[in-house]
Symmetry: C2
Subunit: 296 residues, 2 copies
């Protein structure tokens, strides 16, 4: 029996069970570590009946994933004051003496899509979420990419045609990076209404597809993924993915020679399958992984 | 005893030996597969005295690296007509019945720098060469990143301020992608003299550093490497790397919190150590790897 925590900036999702298809699940508001963590631990304790074998955590960040670091398993410099320098692994470990898997929320979601969603049996892929922010997780050679810290894919710089789009971008660090130009709040600030209310024939969508495709083209050239999975609130508009696909093909212009990037692009750029369950299922997968790693 | 072939567009470098510090090495012009490959095979045969245990090949591309493909080990759609659809592995295998390691020239160079150069014992890094073109190889979790095809890092799109730099870019596929704006030929076409003759106080270098740093910032956000190794002809100008470092720090603007990206950036962005030997030593490492893989 495994426990899973998806720690988001506004809510926590917690789950317990042995089968991802039949988990006990609850949601808690993200208030302070004292309150939210106590509730999360209580939920895991009540529903596991002392049989918890591992816990998986996918957390909002930035988090410290460096196993050699003094602050491994901490949320570090978040603007959420109450959660700054919060020892996430340590807190869970104090409650349950079991192996703990820990990763970013977006890496957890990527893992969820890998195990039960749109990227099953794909050794190299990207999971991208486009919503309040833009975040990406990469699986390379079958393993989550961490590197020095973890990717911050939303913050790549892309061409910004200021004649076509004079909007200056909303990223407090970079202005008009990809996230600054193409996240949900950027769409709302640019057009004056929420992205979800922009009609299908609004020019917002061609521009959005253009920016996202610039990001995808850069990741194709950098990571050479075998598939790109797109999730998040902005991607809920069904018409957006076809626009992104054709813009990606146009931008690559035949340079990377692969049928996946031309004829088969519909199978290459695909919507996420697990929708808002990707994160918690990914956290469940992290628990399974932590348990298996300990068995070795 | 291992053989190594670095197959470049204008010359082949071939090496034989058991110790990378004392290899027999030769250079051959790249003419046709019949002539160049016969000479390469002869060199390997003569200097190995029948003791060749594996051969490693780092080749110009595009190459097919997909082991399940019918054309695995081929050079595919190169503009060099004589080498189109050339069965590289098959040709070497017909001459030597030994394991063969095969990868792109830039991945081989990355491997060389990993084994004996500027990225020893670094599990996650990027090797970038800036010369006639711009190419990058990535090591992730200690293994070369291949994915669907292989990276084409030079072809990422970056912001291009056409007021500051009206040059349209020289990439036949993408115009003003990173390679189109920042490779050696782009510098020469923009400024009217070869990059190697541009003096230290020429504005060309600040612009070049800006473009390269935009690429590096995007790769930091995507791959989160633990080090970035810069090689190639354009990087021979000693003053360029310090400019790239400070521009990278400025562009990231503190968002990715790591001492490597601020105080320690001098150890993070470093020049290649093996210079023009990275490719052939990497091919030697590919031979060692192929031999070890077969022993398993």
């Amino acid at each position: 029996m495994f426990g899973a925590i998806e720690a988001g900036g506004t809510k926590f999702v917690c789950a317990v069970g042995s089968d991802p298809a039949s988990l006990a699940v609850t949601q808690l508001p993200t208030t302070s570590p004292e309150i939210t963590m106590a509730d999360a631990v209580n939920f895991l304790r009540e529903h596991s009946h002392g049989k918890l074998q591992a816990v998986g955590i996918g957390s909002f960040g930035p988090v410290d994933l460096s196993k050699s670091s003094r602050t491994f398993g901490y949320i570090t410099s978040t603007p959420k004051i109450a959660w700054q320098n919060f020892n996430f692994i340590g807190t869970v470990h104090a409650a349950f003496d079991v192996p703990i898997g820990f990763d970013t929320d977006v890496n957890a979601a990527a893992l969820g899509e890998a195990r039960w969603g749109a990227a099953q049996a794909i050794s190299d892929f990207i999971y991208l979420t486009v919503g309040t922010g833009i975040g990406g997780g990469a699986i390379v050679n079958g393993r989550v990419l961490h590197g020095l810290v973890h990717p911050e894919m939303g913050h790549i710089r892309i061409p910004h045609d200021q004649v076509r789009d004079p909007y200056r971008g909303c990223c407090p660090f970079h202005g008009d990076c990809l996230e600054g130009l193409a996240c949900g709040p950027a769409m709302e600030e640019r057009w004056g209404i929420p992205a979800s209310t922009l009609p299908v024939d609004h020019p917002a969508w061609a521009l959005e597809a253009h920016y996202l495709a610039l990001g995808l083209a850069n990741w194709v050239c950098t990571l050479s993924p075998k598939r790109i999975v797109l999730g998040g609130g902005v991607m809920q508009q069904q018409w957006l993915i076809p626009l992104v696909r054709s813009e990606l093909v146009r931008l690559l212009n035949g340079y990377v020679q692969s049928i996946e990037l031309t004829e088969k692009v519909d199978e290459y750029v695909v919507p996420a399958k697990l929708a808002n369950r990707a994160g918690i299922l990914g956290a469940f997968a992290l628990a399974q992984q932590a348990y298996q790693d300990q068995q070795r």
